[in-house]
Symmetry: C2
């Protein structure tokens, strides 16, 4: 009995591109959205790929994501811009925003672009990677639905607020993409689907007490009922809770604050998402010779990988190494998708009038969960 | 029997300025160094103020810090610069570097300056605050002696690598200054002086095993004998160890990597310190109206402070609040300095030929520790 189904890149690419076109996006737009979502699966970040399709499905269906939205450039200087996404698909405005940052950075050396009134944009690292692919240092941050409880608080006020940075290096680029919470909401969603207890230290319930229940925390976040995920550093100042909280603030500054958009605690109100993003691109040539800097950085990464290992550990990873290895493996061999995610994909097919077997094959759904907490997004069932 | 002695700002200012002048720094230079060190004490960051004087004392005496060094501008664009500190005092080159970043950012909107071959620069936040005082967003990072063990490693390869960000807000600016380790080396130095066991979760010994012994970890760091302080997120990936490690990498990128300076694992070799710093200044006007952004940010900070408190907690702090309160209190009432730090201050007086009683008063040293681990800096006793 299969608890997961193995899929391959070409079939999932066709499925997603067809689905997003059916929603009304152009072929080019559908390709862009698909590329962001599947890079996540290919990089082994299963929480943010197919697993998140249900979120886009629900939000497009209910109008939280506006298919025909035209992002508006509301402020611009040679080194910066602010874009209003007007509730469009987060991936589309974000690709354009990072392209603009890259274009500006190639002229001026550094550029920052902030986006307001957007929707979930997938993995933060996708946009940092865009700059890296052009030989620049790329940075990307976003706020999200409020789910992080600030140090000494019991109500979620900040998002998972990831920070992503990518920089050219050999044999693979540095790629760091990390929420400022202990874990992302996506990890809780995975535990909800796997119906497994979470490790203690990830989240607190509505009373501010440590909990192992992913569905309980997800429900509380959806209901804005209190509790949430802990900042990196955990509960108390002793292990640095105020630090994770501080890094989350940096994300707010460069996404919601400078764009005058919604801070995490005001997103997902009145049927709108309105999260905000921030992008930066930096040309290493403003510090000297980019090739020399790249070689120097590559050597440092090598030193880290070759440093003495802790007892029982075989490898020290540098950031991006696991992703490159996962990409190679998954492109070649495909990857396993949780059966409950496949149910969500089938529901999407049904809604769009697709014959699911054409895209997903002949799936045995007898293992699908009857008890999993079905998430709502901004109160949308 | 006093375990600490209370001192006040004017007397400590006079002491430090006289001491640094006696070392050969000009009055202006001595005032600058003193201002960085005492702001730390006034902000309640006791680990980085008078407590650290012994470090500067030893390093100047032994030539690791070169008193007459002339920093050199080795690369420059309208938005950036790289400075070689030529082993000068970290505070002096850093103040100049941030002034340059501010000057450039006022013209171009954003600027970054990287410094190599420097010495310890005090609290990272001092330089971020410099930009904030000018209405800009200020950022400051540094690498340090290797003391952070990367995830799955057992040898310290990265520094405590703090990230500091400051941004204008009312009634007080946002001021975030935080190492990317669970705690800084300075905290271990304080526990060493207090002769208290550290909380488990801060550091590992030379075998990679959790330890409560601050002197043991400090000795191992000085001897490069293995072990060290854990990244924010602790030991394992489960609670985000790879995240603290990743943030530390960002510090290396903008300090040692882009300047082609020494990465943390190569600092403090052959009697030289050679740490590197990175500074950035961003004018909020590149995103719209700076005053409007400041007001919007201030309101968000207020919402955070007023959010529901966890059971047993009275306040949620925003970053910089504690510092402003400590500053007010300590300027008015002075602050307590650990007796073992006062011993270090007396030793400095003795070395400089000062009558210590003139600066430190009539101190009862009977409580001073006989057992405290006396730190070496880069092998210098």
């Amino acid at each position: 009995m299969a608890k997961s189904v193995r899929y391959h890149y070409p079939e999932m690419k066709r499925f997603l591109e067809d689905a997003f076109q059916k929603f009304g996006f152009s072929l080019k737009e559908s390709e862009e959205i698909t590329d962001v979502l599947l890079l996540s699966d290919l990089y082994g970040i299963s929480s943010h790929g197919l697993q998140r399709l249900v979120r886009y499905h629900k939000c497009i269906k209910n109008g939280m994501i506006k298919v025909g939205a035209k992002p508006e450039l509301v402020f611009e200087t040679p080194v910066s811009a602010v874009i209003d996404a007007h509730d469009g698909m987060g991936q589309l405005v974000s690709i354009d925003a990072m392209k603009l940052a890259i274009e500006k950075a190639k002229k001026t050396g550094i550029a920052m672009v902030s986006v307001r009134n957007s929707n979930h944009y997938g993995i933060a690292g996708y946009y940092a990677k865009m700059a890296c692919d052009e030989g620049l240092i790329g940075m990307s941050v976003t706020n999200t639905t409020a789910l992080m409880v600030p140090t000494f608080g019991k109500k979620a006020m900040l998002g998972s607020n990831p920070i992503a940075v990518s920089m050219p290096a050999d044999p693979y680029p540095f790629f760091f993409d990390s929420s400022t919470t202990v874990v992302t909401r996506g990890k809780l969603e995975m535990y909800n689907k796997m119906e497994k207890p979470m490790p203690i230290g990830w989240a607190v319930d509505e009373n501010g007490i440590a909990t192992e229940s992913a569905p309980r925390v997800l429900r509380n976040i959806d209901d804005k009922a209190g509790g949430g995920i802990l900042p990196l550093g955990g509960h108390l100042e002793m292990l640095g809770s105020h630090k994770g909280y501080g890094y989350a603030m940096l994300c707010e500054i460069f996404s919601s604050i400078v764009s005058l958009g919604k801070t995490s605690n005001h997103t997902y109100e009145k049927g709108k998402c309105e999260v905000c993003h921030g992008f930066a691109a930096i040309d290493p040539n403003i510090f000297g010779n980019a090739e020399e800097i790249k070689a120097y950085f590559s050597n440092f990464l090598k030193e880290l990988r070759e440093a003495p290992k802790a007892d029982g550990q075989e490898r020290i990873y540098t950031h991006g190494e696991k992703e490159v290895e996962a990409y190679k493996d998954r492109m070649e061999n495909g990857w396993d998708v949780n059966i409950n995610t496949v149910v969500e994909m089938k529901n999407l097919c049904d809604d769009l009038g697709f014959d699911y077997k054409e895209y997903l094959g002949d799936v045995d759904f007898s293992d699908a969960s009857k008890n999993m907490y079905e998430q709502r997004i901004g109160g949308i069932k």
